[in-house]
């Protein structure tokens, strides 16, 4: 496959987090801009681990919402320390403003000053996304009137509309049926290819679906006789020839990898 890995976009160095006990230990990984000729190839990275291992905590550290006890998270082409708000988050329970309609929730995402669009353009943009992601009929509804999958789509689009290049997703596949999971994967792939620098970081315990959509995956697990979770394995799915393929879950090599990894988390 023809691609290059260019500049570093996210660099996580020696991150440690302790509450009453050690949760995360020596987390190190980096995400580089992947460039493929003739297309906008964004990055999709997963952090995979068991329930309760500390994924959500790592997620919050990456988003700048929780400060680690030590270590740094650098983001962007200029590699500056992450600040809350510059990384989009789609949380485990798809938080939206319940007092606003779907349309107004999306409009809020475009309210900040760095966007120079007039109201008509903004509405047109919302209509465009709604149409692409099957939300047209739901724009006038309130979040409480949506299904889990629809709420998730609104959350993701909200973050895309804000203009966030980095979007973190906490358990994007949980609570969805097989068909919906396929739809979410399609959506994520679309988002990832909207812009060269778009970078999705998926935090999940779902080995199969996370691996299927990612170009790189990190396994988050505990090492024997050591406290706290760390990255125990890095999978370069592009090198393995398992990335960027919508039908990869049918592939026997892929299935083998999945069952191998299930034992490691």
């Amino acid at each position: 496959m023809n691609y290059t890995k260019n500049e570093v976009l996210i660099d996580v160095k020696e991150v440690n987090l302790t509450y009453d006990k050690v949760i995360l230990r020596d987390i190190n990984f980096r995400i580089q801009n992947i460039v493929r000729p003739g297309m906008n190839q964004g990055q999709v990275v997963s952090l995979i681990g068991r329930s309760g291992i500390g994924k959500t905590q790592l997620f919050k550290i990456l988003a700048g919402l929780v400060k680690p006890n030590s270590g740094t998270v650098m983001v962007g082409v200029d590699q500056h320390p992450v600040e809350a708000g510059e990384v989009g988050i789609v949380s485990q329970n798809y938080i939206l403003f319940n007092h606003r309609s779907v349309h107004d929730n999306l409009r809020l995402a475009m309210k900040h000053d760095s966007l120079a669009l007039n109201d008509k353009d903004k509405d047109a943009l919302i209509a465009d996304y709604a149409q692409r992601f099957a939300l047209e009929e739901h724009l006038k509804k309130y979040p409480l009137q949506l299904s889990g999958g629809q709420r998730q789509r609104v959350s993701i689009i909200q973050q895309v509309l804000t203009g966030n290049r980095f979007i973190l997703l906490d358990e994007p596949f949980s609570g969805l049926d097989a068909l919906m999971i396929d739809r979410v994967m399609e959506l994520l792939t679309q988002v990832a290819t909207l812009h060269e620098l778009n970078t999705l970081v998926i935090v999940s315990h779902d080995v199969e679906n996370s691996l299927a959509i990612s170009d790189t995956a990190y396994i988050l697990a505990k090492e024997k006789e050591k406290e706290g979770a760390t990255i125990t394995e890095t999978l370069d799915l592009i090198e393995m020839g398992l990335a960027w393929n919508a039908g990869i879950r049918e592939d026997s090599r892929f299935q083998q990898l999945v069952s191998q990894m299930k034992h490691k988390i």
Partner: protein
């Protein structure tokens, strides 16, 4: 048969029709029992109370008294909610937080001890009643409002951050606009407190009349029929305004209807 079993088992959802039937039947039973067994008792029977109530409602002075009470309640509520909202929103700014906390504690101050002071501070009976009312309700308002603010999920603030809102915009979106429907609900709940206090403060300055004044006057003449009739009128009005506020809330904030149905 199935319905009968249902109404006796806990946590069962019953249909709107059934629940209305239940209310009507139980209320009728209670009134009939009261009418039958109350013939020789101290408490006047429903029919007597109803007759007395009718006489009061149709009397010439009723409208004036009613209007006086309502005007006082609504003015008091209006000023109180504005003050309480201000205090609550300001409590999010660290310098003002101690003030809010103190006001919450004022619920434990009894008004009776302060009446003398208020009498000296205010110029006339109207002002006295109004300020006592406000002083009485604001701490309850602030308490409820602060608990609403406390209950806000941090994730909502985090969402605002990712949408690049600053602290002021977040305050506006999450705390003010996002909780307006709950402010309305607090207003409805505390309306009961205001309505209860109104008869008390009206007793302190009777010159303007009001339902409370009527109540105290009939108490003096041990006219229990009239006392109960006024109580029933006060009760009915309270329930009426409660339901008006409830419907107004659903109409103003359509999404609140969704929550209760879900």
């Amino acid at each position: 048969m199935d319905t009968i079993r249902k109404i006796f088992s806990p946590l069962t959802q019953i249909k709107g029709r059934t629940s209305i039937t239940l209310v009507v039947m139980e209320a009728t039973a209670a009134l009939v029992a009261w009418e039958l067994f109350g013939q020789h008792g101290l408490i006047p029977t429903p029919s007597k109370i109803l007759m007395a109530a009718w006489k009061i409602v149709t009397s010439a002075f009723f409208a004036d008294n009613l209007f006086s009470s309502l005007a006082l309640t609504f003015t008091g509520m209006g000023i109180s909610i504005v003050v309480a909202l201000l205090v609550s929103y300001l409590s999010l700014i660290p310098v003002f937080a101690p003030v809010a906390r103190f006001i919450v504690k004022c619920r434990y101050l009894t008004l009776t001890g302060l009446i003398f002071l208020f009498t000296l501070l205010t110029q006339d009976g109207h002002q006295l009643k109004l300020s006592l009312l406000i002083f009485g309700i604001v701490p309850f308002f602030v308490t409820s409002l602060l608990s609403i603010i406390d209950a806000i999920n941090v994730q909502e603030y985090e969402l605002c951050k990712t949408l690049r809102m600053n602290n002021w915009q977040t305050l506006w979106e999450v705390v003010i606009v996002g909780r307006l429907d709950q402010v309305f609900e607090v207003m409805r709940q505390n309306f009961a407190i205001a309505w209860m206090m109104i008869t008390m403060v009206e007793g302190l300055s009777m010159s303007e009349g009001g339902l409370g004044t009527m109540l105290i006057k009939s108490n003096k003449y041990i006219d229990l029929g009239t006392v109960f009739a006024i109580l029933v009128i006060i009760f009915a009005l309270g329930v009426f305004f409660d339901s008006v506020l409830k419907h107004l809330r659903h109409w103003l904030f359509p999404y609140t209807k969704l929550q209760t149905r879900a």
